[in-house]
């Protein structure tokens, strides 16, 4: 009933698609981390304008489906005469989406740091940048690894949506394979195995990183 031979012949193409999925997800996660940290700083700042801006950003990108963000980024600019390529829209959409979530993750991480740390560092003459760089960021990073790992798995999974705006990642390639082999069930099952491997690998990496960075009782 199930015949995987046609799909197995296409495995190299699917592996190439998975590679695209991986690099797009990694790029979006990194850009999202930079933007998320900036937005987190804005959210915690004393400037009310920055605070409202960051809150609006988070509410918007956590409140909208990624698919809708992608459709808007892909179709709306062209109606104003700005041409966007699928890849630009994809990277931008995925980045904005994960940045919204990462902002909240970093904020939650920041709130776990006792204020005494910042006060002590200020007493010792650390500049604000030094406090952020040497006191806050390392601790925020350590406590947020589990949440960031979940977010990374989510990004890998959501990157499947990029197929809809014609980015040739894993799911798009699988669709192309289906239309040439007429084996939807087999192809999508293999595609699922690829996604499952990738998300399991990301969770495993996150767990071992967390174990590695958690101080053991001496």
């Amino acid at each position: 009933m199930l015949d995987f031979s046609a799909v197995i012949a296409q495995l190299p193409r699917m592996a190439a698609g998975a590679q695209t999925t991986i690099w797009i997800s990694a790029a979006a996660l990194l850009c999202g981390a930079a933007l998320g940290l900036l937005m987190c700083a804005a959210r915690l700042s004393r400037n009310p304008f920055l605070r409202v801006l960051a809150a609006a950003f988070v509410s918007l990108f956590r409140g909208l489906p990624l698919l809708v963000v992608l459709l808007i980024l892909f179709y709306v600019p062209s109606s104003f005469g700005i041409e966007t390529t699928p890849l630009t829209a994809a990277l931008l959409g995925l980045t904005l989406n994960t940045a919204g979530y990462q902002t909240e993750i970093y904020r939650a991480g920041f709130l776990t740091i006792p204020p005494g740390h910042t006060e002590a560092a200020r007493m010792l003459g650390f500049s604000r940048l030094q406090i952020a760089r040497h006191i806050l960021l390392p601790q925020i990073f350590r406590v947020t690894i589990p949440a960031l790992t979940n977010e990374a798995v989510d990004v890998v999974k959501s990157s499947g949506l990029l197929s809809i705006i014609a980015v040739t990642e894993l799911l798009r390639i699988s669709q192309q394979i289906v239309s040439s082999t007429y084996r939807p069930l087999e192809t999508y099952l293999v595609c699922g195995a690829f996604y499952f491997l990738m998300s399991t690998a990301v969770s495993w990496l996150g767990r071992s990183l967390a174990r590695h960075l958690t101080p053991r009782p001496a």
């Binding site: 409140g63 197929s163 669709q175 939807p184």
Partner: protein, 216 residues
Amino acid sequence: MIDLVAIVEYAPAIGRGLLVTIEICTVSLFLGLLLGLAVALLGRLPWPPLRWLIRTYVEIWRGTPLLLQLFILYYGGPSIGFLPSAYQAGVLGMTLYTGAYLAEIFRAGFEAVPPGQIEAARMLGFTKLKIVRHIELPQMLALIVPPATNQMISIIKESAVLSVITVPEVTFTTTRIVSETFAVVEPYLLLGLAYWCVTTAVACGSRRIERKLVRA
């Protein structure tokens, strides 16, 4: 640049699509809650093969994209004689997907109930079923409100992918308006607004419930 007349013109159709979205999400969330609870309870039985099976379900469904799961049901189903309509495939896919997440949430909720309470209940002669019913479930349900509402919000947003398998929900309605009228900006703005309002309303509602539960 933005045509207000067009917005008024498209709003009713988008509103109808939004109702379909809400309906599908409600049905699959309800079924997913039942499934998740059943899976979490079964996972506590001391029978390793069942536990292993449940782990596999949860890990696979949480580790692959919903869109792909819908493709497997809707396009792959017919290869083995399973021919769901788009709507059926959508509800089934979302139920299985959200059930896996909720099973994890329920499991964590059960684990958060202090073991001392269960030991005390056993000492007092409670049966296993009574312990679950009177000690574990009530506390677990209070603990899981925040993660469960998060899951609710994320399933509302994820339901947008049902448009790809032609379920006539709000994203599908909007993309059809776009392709029929060539108006792009107004329908998509309305669509974004619709989702934002629904998810924000759910988030606010859940915060109020949480505050009430904390006070109680």
